[in-house]
Amino acid sequence: MAHARISMYLPPDINPTQAAIAYGCRALPKLNEELQSEDLLTRQKALMALCDLMHDPEHVYVAIDTGCLESLKALLKDNNDMVRIKTTEVLYIMATHNVGREGFLEHDVILALSSLLNDPQSACRKNLHLAFKHVALLPSGAQGIVNSGLIPSLVWKLQREEEEIQGLLLDTLAACLTEDATEALGSHVVPFLKQKLLSTNDDIRSKAARTLIAVSIPLEGKNQVWQHDVIPILVHLLKDRVEEVQANAAGALMYATVTTQGKYAALDTEAIHPLLSLLGSSLSKARLNATKALTMLAEAPEGRKFLQSRVPVFRVLEDDTSEAVRRAAQIAVKVIEWKP
């Protein structure tokens, strides 16, 4: 029979790097107190424990309720690197949950995070940008980022940062610019994006193209895109080997060719052939964007003339799996066959 003896020894401390998590509802308030303690070790251990806990959305809610965000904000200005890295990690994990994002917006965490944009530690900045990216996925979060005037500094950072972080930045910018692109357009985002389109990293190219889509939604963006001669590069990217890049480039073209100048610029650079080849791509997004871009080009008489011979391709597309593609193909056919 086993001894029903409770050991006099405390359970061994399996993880000395983590603070002990109190039971039940005492866990988070206690960690909050530990976060505010003077002792560095306590704070670090509390942060590690918090990281684990924040994966559970209920804990996130409780944490925000008990005011952990204030202590975390204070810790962002700590001198110790480890503390800052861990704090940004905690904030990033919180931002992956909706409750966390809402809490960020209420407690002005975005501004506090922005003070770390120039932090010397790259891990810290990476977490920071991850947090921003997740916040930007929420429309009101993106609006919050725009409102706090961070866009010019983010755009500027695009030039300076390393590649991973550039990828994250581009994601954030893409989400924010779909909300409001005027500030970014004023801070030379188009030339920067143009450079990024020519980068060797596939990921960066596709994200840059996606950001360009967002940029060229407003009219000002379209004009700037045409002025900076981005359209030839986009046409060139249509022949890229990565499908995602092709699809995004087609999307950017789709928006840029809405204006007449854009249409003629695209026609001048022979955009129709690559777009036609994209119609057979496996990515539905690519097909969709290509169809739409060709529709735009068919508005111009030269384009229409050329595409009239290609109408059968569109008829084939009308039987596509995706409903959006079908609709787009129908519209394209209608536009091509329109007689004034």
Partner: protein
């Protein structure tokens, strides 16, 4: 701070543990190494380490295990099996018990230790915080100090504790307490009191000595004699320095070991039932470990599931967001395209409308112009001949040469004619004057000569007629010079008659008039040309 918590359950847990175990385990005699470090010695002093838990709570809590069983159990064997669960309710009682036990089994214990233990319990009680009144020293039943048996090291815990009866305790004050002299007995003797006592003693001694000096003594013995103490009682007594001592011995048996309590074997009742337990039957590791494993693995899996779910959720969200974004982009592009198209079409329509309008406008304008032209033509067709006619009538069509002649030449001619005529008139006037003068002179002469019949009157008449004929002279010349046949004007007719008279005068005055003739000739020449011109149109006009 964490350590305080286990302290309380530890202390109350111990009794239960031991109760459950019922002295199955005999702790090794040397089993308290750590405690020995803090304790003074082992024999008989086991109580001390137990009594100093406050001193060594953090050190070797495990050693508690080895100590307790000898001290605690029987009292609590009857008590509740799991006292630590009722810590809050009956904790006081449980805690009381250990201290009592402690006190009971260590009769030689210093007050200090007991005091410490009691204060410890007090502290723990006050740490509980559930009592309104705290004791400095909790009331406890005092154990009796009488030892019947020799203390021995391996004292088993089932010795009944003999408590002393306070009624027979010398330490307990009986009777009234108001007149009692409470000396320095409670606590430390007061040093001041000690000093005072010593002083008093010294003073008494000194006084006594002083008094002895003054006491009348027997005078010194005379020389050769000696004082001797003599007994005067009836019976003599032997006086010796040495006190007669009588030793009386009484021998008891050497302290025997306390005989072990005879085992109480209750009468056997019931049936004997035996169970054979084979090895491995009672304890199955797998079974035992299962709950623990479940918890461990469960927690880990839970955490990891949470994280994986999180990731999945995020991935799903992202995927749906991408899909949504695609659709949105496409729709937005469509909207923009349609807007653009609309704008272009509208502009195109505007332009065409404007063009059409211009065309129509031009068309109507042209029609109007044509109509106007035609009408004007028609209107002016008649106008032209009449205009020409009226113009011609108005004299607007003229031969420039003719006109020029008329304007330039004829006036000049007339002027010349005038001049000539004036000249001739002037000449005639001069002539007349001359004649007059001459005549007057002649008259005068004649009158002088003969105051004669006035032959001057016919001369005057002649003169007047001469004057009248003068102008015609010019005209006559003109008539002479003009070779062309002309229709004679009535004026001319009159003029033609008079030259006859004039001819007469000329012949008279040939010299004076020669110059004038030449001049007149020239003038007439000029006038002739102008005159003919003047005459011709006049002739034309006359139907």
């Amino acid at each position: 701070m964490r350590r305080q918590e286990p302290e309380v359950p530890l202390r109350t847990g111990l009794p239960a543990k031991t109760a459950g175990r019922n002295c199955q385990e005999v702790p090794p005699p040397g089993g308290t190494p750590g405690c020995r470090a803090t304790a003074v010695g082992d024999a008989g002093w086991l109580g001390v380490p137990w009594g100093n838990p406050s001193v060594a709570p953090t050190s070797c809590p495990g050693n508690f295990l080895s100590r307790p069983p000898s001290f605690l159990p029987p009292l609590l064997a009857s008590g509740n099996p799991c006292p630590w669960q009722y810590v809050h309710l009956s904790g006081s009682r449980d805690r009381l018990a250990p201290t009592c036990l402690k006190a009971g089994t260590h009769p030689k214990r210093s007050d200090l230790a007991s005091g410490v233990a009691s204060t410890l319990t007090d502290r723990t009680c006050s740490a509980m915080g559930t009592y309104t009144y705290t004791y400095t020293s909790r009331p406890r039943a005092l154990p009796c100090q009488r030892r019947r048996y020799r203390d021995h090291l391996m004292q088993l815990a089932e010795e009944p504790v003999h408590h002393g009866n306070i009624m027979y305790d010398r330490r307990v004050v009986r009777g009234n307490t108001y007149a009692l002299h409470t000396g320095p007995l409670p606590g430390q003797p007061d040093p001041i009191e000690i000093q005072r006592q010593q002083q008093a003693k010294r003073r008494a001694l000194a006084k006594k000595r002083a008094q002895e000096q003054f006491r009348p003594r027997t005078p010194e013995p005379v020389e050769g004699r000696k004082h001797v103490d003599v007994q005067t009682e009836m019976y003599l007594e032997e006086i010796a320095d040495r006190i007669i001592e009588v030793d009386v011995e009484c021998q008891t048996d050497a302290f025997l070991d306390r005989p072990p309590t005879p085992l109480f074997i209750p009468a056997k009742t019931g049936k004997d039932v035996a169970t054979q337990i084979l090895e491995g039957e009672l304890f199955d590791f797998d079974l035992e470990v299962k709950p623990m494993l479940e918890v461990l693995v469960g927690k880990t899996i839970e955490q990891s599931l949470l994280e994986v779910m999180e990731e999945e959720e995020l991935a799903n969200l992202r995927a749906s967001q991408y899909a949504y974004e695609e659709l949105r982009n496409v729709e937005l592009a469509e909207v923009q395209r349609l807007a653009e198209q609309e704008k272009r079409h509208r502009e195109e329509k505007e332009r065409r409308k404007r063009q059409q309008w211009e065309v129509v406008y031009k068309h109507s304008e042209t029609a109007q112009k044509v109509a106007a032209r035609v009408f004007a033509q028609r209107y002016l067709a008649d106008l032209l001949p009449s205009v020409f006619d009226s113009l011609r009538d108005g004299g607007y069509f003229y031969d420039p040469v003719e006109r020029d002649i008329e304007i330039g030449f004829l006036p000049w001619l007339m002027n010349e004619v005038d001049k000539t005529m004036e000249y001739s008139m002037v000449g005639r006037t001069v002539l007349d004057m001359l004649i007059r003068e001459v005549v007057e002179k002649r008259l005068a002469a004649y009158e002088q000569r003969d105051d004669q019949p006035p032959a001057g009157k016919p001369k005057d008449e002649l003169g007047e007629s001469g004057r009248m004929t003068e102008p015609p002279v010019g005209y006559e010349l003109q008539e002479q010079s003009t070779a062309q046949p002309q229709r004679p004007l009535p004026g001319r007719d009159s003029l033609q008659r008079t030259p006859d008279d004039g001819r007469y005068m000329e012949s008279v005055l040939a010299q004076e008039t020669k110059l004038m003739e030449e001049a007149e000739y020239e003038q007439t020449k000029i006038r002739k040309t102008s005159g003919t011109e003047v005459l011709q149109p006049r002739g034309d006009f006359q139907p």
